[in-house]
């Protein structure tokens, strides 16, 4: 188990939770916990997401999150700096 905590600033607009939750679901990333709250800026909300990587790389999860237009910034809490692992390739499959 590899649990990381991300602090994600997002545009405070309808559907933003669905965008983030949908991304995690369709890319098979596991959310352990998710908390959404306001910030001093009423146009921006803060999400704190605990992600259980289980084979995914944190770098990839963050890069995919960052592609959401409504996501403004992402930073990892607790562990500090983000390290990218050398072997983050996908498992083999027959498609």
């Amino acid at each position: 188990m590899s649990i990381h905590t991300l602090e994600v600033l997002v545009e405070n607009e309808p559907g933003v939770l669905a965008r983030v939750a949908g991304l995690f679901a369709r890319r098979a990333y596991n959310i352990d916990t998710l908390v959404v709250g306001p910030t001093e800026n009423s146009e921006i909300s803060k999400m704190v997401i605990q992600v259980n990587l289980e084979g995914h790389s944190l770098e990839q999860v963050m890069a995919q999150l960052d592609k959401l237009i409504t996501v403004i910034s992402i930073k990892e809490l607790i562990d500090g700096a983000v390290k990218s692992s050398k072997h983050d390739t996908q498992p083999d499959y027959q498609n």
């Binding site: 997002v10 959401l68 390739t89 996908q90 027959q94």
Partner: protein, 587 residues
């Protein structure tokens, strides 16, 4: 898109008029669509607009036509539909455009904002449905938000890694009054694509390239999106290394170039597949290590270091680890790489001769080819090859999905970018005809051929009516093997020849030439190799009407080479149960 501040800025108007003025301000010259209740307010000002609206026969046709237009022009394609079923009919083209990074803007009407969430007539949560495969999407319920949403949609669709954006607009927002205000420069806090690559990454890449004894350029569709073919040609000349172009990159580098080894992947050439497998360095430009290219990933290019240049940071390390990632616009990247590589090569230049010799040997030993049918019937590969030769390299080709698609990629020579349009990532049957329609609208003076399958054609041929009525004279070659040929090929190879539900009987029904005539096109047929060239030339001579040719071909032809799904590229087959003779190759 060329955007300019419209003269109507600050004028009072309806949301619908504001939508049309916004599209005009975004530089739209054509859109494909079908009206309906929720979008109807917009169709009234469309009636007076300078934008050409092409009334299609199915919204899927509108979406793929917009894609064909975008792929040919490099500008955003626009499609428009009503709520509910109109919007859901756009789902496939949107997914298709996302997979192939096509700039598309889809406008849909939505039920009035007060009705949203009530299961109202023709209500569908199209924003929710399309979230997974749009680059971004909007639900607009306030008429004042329309210009900004449209301006942002075009900005997002066309910049960075291109992709589809959907703007869903509630009917009451279209009906209400608003004051039109076109936004100035679009700045989005959460969207800042990186265009200029880091200099240190460029230098690292140049160093790695100069040291490599077995480099190969692995070229993807991103090179075409970035309009970087000219720069790529220079870079290749400087290094003199072999090049492979993926299904999405055919035409990014001329097929006739002596360093071009062809297409890699499941139906790639032996030389292209082997070049990737045996390389010590992949110079990956705008490609994404798709499973159709890598085969079994754990055995893909195991001895190669990887330079991966892409505008999308999420592609880096997604499937294959990149030793040197380069994030940025590919034209800028290649332009920066050229002097950096020249400088490195002047210090130190590896001898590529043995590597080139072994790749040239492979290419000479295992060229693409096919056997003509013993019974003298028409060969599908020959049909496609002759169309390519007779029509020439200025032609734009589209295809459906299946065997004919692979043959169209293999046996037509592509010399220029944006001349080969197909559904690569999604594999959407039915792409061919509507994409050709959109391509012809985008390039009216260019000959456009759809190389289609008898199965694919039956999914979207209704757009030939649109073509006939709107003076869009495309040419369609139906490669009629009376079956879902590609699926049948898998049944031959992997299911003991048990042809469950792949027989289409399409030499009996439908009568394709008659169907074509019924849709206002010229319908031709050919089943004899002796008539082949004359039939193609006949089609070439008709330029005032769409033409459809029913090429009645041998049904048992197969696509070779093949790397079976889930197997290693090392297990490439050149014919059934026949591997290349590796012992005679020095690699």
């Amino acid at each position: 898109m060329t955007t300019h501040v419209p003269t109507v800025n600050g004028t009072a108007m309806t949301g619908a008029t504001s939508l049309v003025k916004s599209l005009e301000a975004a530089g739209v010259d054509v859109m494909f669509g079908i009206p309906g209740g929720a979008i109807l307010p917009a169709y009234d000002p469309i009636f007076d607009s300078t934008i050409r609206h092409i009334l299609v026969r199915h919204e899927q046709g509108a979406g793929h036509a917009a894609t064909g237009y975008a792929q040919v022009t490099g500008r955003a394609g626009v499609c428009i539909a009503t709520s509910g079923p109109g919007a859901t009919n756009l789902v496939t083209p949107l997914m298709d455009a996302a997979m192939d990074s096509v700039p598309l803007v889809a406008i849909t009407g939505q039920v009035p904002s007060a009705a949203i969430g009530t299961d109202a007539f023709q209500e569908a949560d199209i924003r929710g449905i399309t979230m997974p495969f749009t680059k971004h999407n909007y639900l607009v319920t306030d008429p004042n938000d329309i210009p900004r949403a449209i301006a942002e949609a075009f900005h997002i669709a066309t910049s960075g890694r291109p992709g589809p954006v959907l703007v869903d607009i509630a009917k009451d927002a279209l009906q209400k009054q608003t004051t039109f205000t076109w936004p100035g420069k679009i700045e989005l806090a959460g969207y800042q694509p990186k265009f200029t690559p880091d200099n240190s990454a460029i230098l690292d890449a140049a160093k790695l390239i100069a040291q490599s004894k077995k480099p190969v350029f692995y070229i993807g569709g991103g090179v075409i999106k970035a309009n970087a073919s000219k720069e790529l040609a220079q870079l290749v000349e400087i290094l003199g290394a072999p090049v492979v172009t993926t299904l999405m990159a055919r035409g990014a580098f001329p097929d006739s170039h002596p360093l071009h080894l062809g297409m890699p992947g499941m139906h790639g050439t032996v030389a292209a597949v082997t070049a990737l497998q045996k390389a010590d360095l992949l110079i990956t430009l705008g490609a994404r290590f798709d499973d159709r290219v890598t085969g079994k990933l754990s055995t893909f290019a195991v001895n190669a270091k990887v330079i991966h240049a892409d505008i999308d940071p999420a592609e880096i390390n997604k499937n294959k680890f990149a030793d040197v990632p380069v994030v940025g616009d590919l034209r800028e990247t290649i332009t920066a790489l050229i002097p950096a590589l020249k400088a490195e090569l002047s210090k130190n230049r590896a001898d590529l001769t043995p590597w080139l010799a072994s790749m040239n040997n492979l290419r000479a030993t295992y060229p693409l080819g096919y056997a003509l049918p013993d019974d003298g019937s028409l060969s599908p590969q020959l049909v496609i090859e002759r169309i390519g030769k007779i029509s020439g390299t200025d032609t734009i080709f589209t295809s459906g999905v299946g065997q004919h698609q692979m043959w169209a990629s293999q046996f037509i020579s592509y010399e220029k970018p944006r001349t080969w349009l197909n559904s690569g990532g999604a594999g959407t049957m039915g792409y061919g005809v509507p994409a050709a329609m959109g391509a012809k609208v985008g390039a009216p003076d260019t000959t456009v051929w759809a190389i289609d399958g008898d199965g694919c054609f039956q999914m979207t041929n209704q757009e030939l009516v649109t073509c006939a009525l709107n003076n869009i004279p495309i040419k369609v070659a139906i490669i009629n093997n009376e079956s879902l040929g590609m699926v049948r090929q898998w049944q031959t190879l992997f299911y003991d020849g048990r042809y469950s539900n792949t027989n289409l009987d399409s030499k009996r029904v439908p009568n394709f030439p008659l169907l074509a005539e019924a849709m206002g096109c010229v319908g031709l047929a050919c089943d004899n190799p002796g008539d082949l060239d004359a039939t193609i030339e006949k089609a070439m001579s008709i330029n005032d009407q769409p033409v459809v040719i029913d090429f009645r071909v041998h049904r048992d032809a197969m696509v070779w080479p093949m790397v079976a799904a889930g197997t290693s590229n090392d297990e490439i087959m050149i014919a059934r149960a026949t591997a290349p003779d590796w012992d005679s190759q020095e690699l």
